[in-house]
Symmetry: D3
Subunit: 138 residues, 6 copies
């Protein structure tokens, strides 16, 4: 790939890092995922930073809080507990309320069934307890 290409990936990478910084205004978002990717599959770490954060989650057309509520709902629906924990924290960090997040999860009982929605609530319990222990305001 040419130098120009590397430069531009850097642009996307930096946009991804800015997104990470925005997400981490409150309690720091776990970077254990990035550590694993950098160690085992570094190209995925770059894809996560450039494509997921730099391209998709940085897009216009939806306000960031709504994007994060969508993530909370979908991650509940697909049972991705690790990422749900991460994005529930992000959503709270950027100003969503706990009530909104509980609604985004509990509504999924209708769409993916009670067992999956209840698993999402159990993840929220851990997130809320951890934030309470840290003395975070929301």
């Amino acid at each position: 790939m040419s130098d120009n290409a590397d430069y531009v990936n850097e642009v996307r990478y930096q946009r991804g890092q800015a997104k990470i910084a925005e997400f981490s205004k409150g309690p720091s978002v776990t970077d254990s995922v990035m550590n694993t990717l950098n160690k085992v599959a570094p190209h995925m770490a770059r894809q996560a930073m450039e494509f997921v954060l730099g391209d998709v989650l940085s897009r216009p057309g939806l306000d960031p809080r709504t994007r994060e509520l969508l993530n909370v709902a979908v991650l509940t629906a697909i049972g991705a507990e690790l990422e749900l924990k991460l994005h529930a924290n992000v959503a709270l960090n950027i100003g969503c309320t706990r009530e909104q997040i509980v609604e985004a999860v509990s509504q999924q009982a209708v769409y993916v069934g009670f067992p999956t929605a209840i698993n999402g609530i159990k993840v929220l319990e851990q997130v809320f307890d951890a934030r309470d222990a840290q003395g975070v305001s929301n």
Copy 2:
């Protein structure tokens, strides 16, 4: 079940019908689902009206447009094409923009993969084409 119980189910049923009316301000929402349920499993038709519409989708805590964007995202993620078509229309009927809906669907490429997200976009194409053919404003 006592008369009182029947009366109260009627309360929840009417709240569900009010939700249906709210959802149908624009092009009418398909009632083919309700027809099938009333014919084959009438108790599910009541559950859909009372529990889904009267209880869950009528809850406070999230504005109705955000609730519908969540539904659009989750129905994309689980590949429920019939219900996605229905709720994409509901979302547009209650004031979401096409751009918001496209974002809610396309963002899922990150979370459930491109094939599933692309299927969602194909459903939106049908919804938008049908609304254009009907001369609906959004």
Copy 3:
């Protein structure tokens, strides 16, 4: 594989065929699946006959009607519409009632959500309509 091996597979194959015959006491069960397998992947046709029908569905420990209700419930849950249609017919052919089958499907609204359960009910509508058109008693 030795002649003995072929002979024994024949035993399992015949037990599978006996199961098919039991399943087909009423309206004939579609063999379009078997035709496709025999044409494209004949080893899967043998696996379906020997392993699925000859081994698993012929096992003791559950009465055949309960086994078929389990199949109806699980095939609803995983959205396997073609196989749900087939096994709903099998269940009715071996003596399950329509009410039991509707319950087995509609109960899944709790466990996998309303969209998936409703899709199951739509399949049942087709099955019941086809059997009514054929003048089958249940």
Copy 4:
């Protein structure tokens, strides 16, 4: 909601509690789920009691043992391990045999594949071991 409405929800709630009592004739069914829901999303605790237990699982049309075998099969199929553990205990508490439950799980190798069915068997191993340790008869 009117007093009448509250009264009727109480009727559904009590029917749900009766179902819980029926389910708990043997070793007590874990209430950790209810504790979490009451703490984080109390409306879901009520929905679980009124809708899931009071409405759906209290319906006529299928005997309770068959309903529970369906739950065991479907919860295996969707990989809901926590709820599978709960409903395997319920099934045994209301009179299903271990053999029936093993069949309901192992049959799913055909329908959702061996990895998922094997995970179900691993849950059963935990359930059976715990009941053996408690000296429960089945």
Copy 5:
């Protein structure tokens, strides 16, 4: 985004187009997906070209035929019939045999169950029939 950024995306876009050309050596791969994306969600069309084709499927580390067999297997497993049809054609176009593709699909009966694997075989039947009708050699 700067001019440089646009240029580099063009590099990735062209690498994606080269991949498309490689995939289409035999019967042309359907572009109906790209048409829909360009019409409804043009940013997804660019993501598909740049990220999916230009980045991921152009990576070193696995030969292209093995990558396509993986796609055939995974698309079978997740029930993505439209994309399975597309990638089965791609796999044949770049030199995989029909036997390899049938094995990649039929093996999934073990891992995701017979209904899903059989659906994959039905897609292959359509692909093989269409190629036979077009007089393609494999």
Copy 6:
């Protein structure tokens, strides 16, 4: 079942055992799964040995390394972490490289989304760390 039948199942069983031996040339493949099956559902232990290993994974038409890469990809896609750990070890034991396995997993970000693919990478991290700790060459 007749003596002949038992004999032939023994043939398939031994073919399954030969496959296990082939898979275990390097670090031994965990047999905790077989222990659980033999204890709780011994008929599934035989099915795993005869059908999965003796029939399907012993088929011609695909070289064993490609079969295992397919397993790694599909087990990632369906989130079967226990079996992914097992088959990633098998793949390495029979000569696949770590790079190939990382590609087989990371490519799935496109097809089933980043959360599921990242979970796969986390499993690989455990597998690689364990093999490093054991001093295995690949």
